[in-house]
Symmetry: C2
Subunit: 197 residues, 2 copies
Amino acid sequence: MDGRRARGERRRQAILEATLRVIERDGVAGVSHRSVAREAGVPTTSTTYYFASLDDLLIATLMWSADKLAEDISDLIVRLVNAPNSDVGAVTRRLVDMVDANRGRTMAEYELYLLAARRPELRPAARRWLDLITEAARPFDSDPVAFRAFLAAVDGLLMQGLIADEPPSVADLEPVVSYLIRPRQHLDRLQGGTIGE
Amino acid sequence: MDGRRARGERRRQAILEATLRVIERDGVAGVSHRSVAREAGVPTTSTTYYFASLDDLLIATLMWSADKLAEDISDLIVRLVNAPNSDVGAVTRRLVDMVDANRGRTMAEYELYLLAARRPELRPAARRWLDLITEAARPFDSDPVAFRAFLAAVDGLLMQGLIADEPPSVADLEPVVSYLIRPRQHLDRLQGGTIGE
DNA sequence: GAACTGGTGGGACGATCGTCCCACCAGTTC
DNA sequence: GAACTGGTGGGACGATCGTCCCACCAGTTC
């Protein structure tokens, strides 16, 4: 193994990670060769050495980041699909975590969405988690329509959580998540309850 | 009325409209004093005359745009809440329209979301339509949890529609929208159906 | 019609940007 | 150890950026 190549590969990775940190902190707008180089502690020319253009750097970073996140999230959802009665709380806690502790990460993800809306080549990366989950859930899923609604609502809850004055709590989100996962149970409970429709 | 002021007000408005066109076409990243001035057909200095900084221009544009959109959308949803059995199709068509014919407009709206996630002063504008609808729907709404799920899913369907390879059709979305609006009916139909759970 | 004032628009400033050039270093190959 | 090669990093280029200065125009006020 060529030691030069190995160190090069490490530096390339360091640049990707630095770029993601810049995006989390300042958004895609804050990414420039110089800002990334400063963050990574490398000379300005390194970023052009490893990535043909700033655009390439941005795309590489967002794809890499989306890949990490997709595997991360889909694990959670697949587990849920396999055992829907197990733990609504786990999903809710994960969502809260994404708009609170991992807020920067989630914003970066939606920066990617928006970029992908304008650039077709980024769309597969942006849809990665949706595709993974949909594929994994297919054999277990008896109600694809309700499942699509659930996936859409997850995106919406996250986006709306990002623009709330303060991040929603588990108690805020749990009823909604529970309804989305077990709608029948929710509706039955409501019917036996008060107002009705 | 001072004719100078009147013309000034018109030019101010023209700058706002030009800025929105630039955002729709190239995103927030494409907005600069020069690009907006070129789009509006005014000298570069006009934009700084009417807006103290580029940031002010951006914020003013997004707030104005969000206001327009909020009233537009909330009309539709309020009508729906008042008569839920009337026309699921109207809502679906509106959603399809937002990711197809009015795609640029919708992307601009989500640029605002993302900016608002980073800047608290923009959040009221970004939440405008959510707040309007929630307020208007309150007296008629017997299931706030399902309603929140519906609103989240609308955001998610729009975002996911923007990153689809081609915009979803009415036929694609109608089942999901129908389920979100009349979940009980959907579930009952499913139970009498095939696989069941 | 003179003084005032809201708006106009050309031109410039320093800063930052993406990108490239090029001399050089440090491992690798033979 | 000489030739090669992957990577390094300082420095510069033209372009574009936000913002400001300032002479001026055109309605308004008296």
